[in-house]
């Protein structure tokens, strides 16, 4: 058994889900593991990770509509406002989703379901560079 690590950066352009499934698959290819476990980590607190449906883009837009209603920009509840009206909502949205995800590797492939894609969920309005670390364990 062995491990392999690789990091990459995702450039985001506002609140939305960004598909990183292929980039994580590329890391798995580099790791050359047939059976194991892939763990993805995002090194930020105003963007997060999510496994979601990859078939209908409307699902991702509905998800964004839900979070925009649940944690609206400029919510008067918040006092941490120096970094803009979307900053504290971004931290809350990140807390409600994932900073880390683990996906088994079976027969050389990520064991994702047919409809599952792996996404970076950007919660800020302006463009950001988001760093992801991928750890692969296996044989």
């Amino acid at each position: 058994m062995r491990q392999f690590q690789q990091s990459f950066v995702v450039e985001t352009r506002g609140k939305a889900l960004y598909d990183v499934t292929e980039r994580v698959r590329d890391v798995l290819t580099n790791a050359d593991v047939r059976e194991g476990l892939v763990t993805v980590f995002i090194a930020h607190t105003s963007a997060s990770l999510l496994i979601q449906e990859n078939a209908d883009d409307e699902v991702q837009r509905d998800l964004e509509r839900f979070f925009a209603r649940l944690v609206p920009d400029g919510d008067p509840l918040f006092r941490h406002v120096e970094e803009g009206p979307d900053d504290m909502p971004a931290h809350v949205r990140a807390a409600l989703t994932q900073t880390t995800l683990s996906i088994p590797v079976l027969a050389g492939k990520l064991a994702l379901g047919v409809w599952q894609g792996l996404y970076v969920y950007e919660h800020r309005n302006r463009p950001h560079s988001r760093t992801l670390h991928v750890h692969v364990l296996g044989a």
Copy 2:
């Protein structure tokens, strides 16, 4: 150190939590590991995983009451409606809970707290077959 993987299917019958603690313990028994880490993954985006209290069933029903109020079926906010009024709420509920969970193994047992059980949280109304993959690492 070695790894072991096994998958199983959970048959669900509507929105509720389904206890899979014993089934994951069975995989650990098959893996024959004394110290290590168990990672559980659910290969779906309208059902999820959750560690919750296993003592009072009312906790699980209250949890369902909360999610039913937070993300009601048929919410007019959603546009992805072709698969039924419970489909998009199911994706949101899955996003707010877990797709993957890791539990340490100590002295041959899952290191769950006394009150912790491991559940599949079904978010659709109709019966579904849900596939879980379990990865065990250890010695």
Copy 3:
């Protein structure tokens, strides 16, 4: 490659985030691993784990304000009330955050972003002793 496990207890004094980053770093030092993966698990269902911003304490208080509004103590929706008005909200808040987190180790350090801290999120009003298990894998 090898693994190392260590547990510790966090004493909490009411609803708030408690920084455990240094305590997890201490476990990593004991494990003496340069490249690998640290997994943290909390053995409770009314407290949880969270990676959040460590720069401005107001972020943590805003997060608490948000959860207090989303899942208020004494919410008449809940029927599991024997253990107090903050008990069922605690289970819901734990379900909405994390029971387990994995963080890669790069060059002997937790690969946390500059602004990321690792927190126990206590959801009960009274003091509690919370047990965390830390699993370290690596070389």
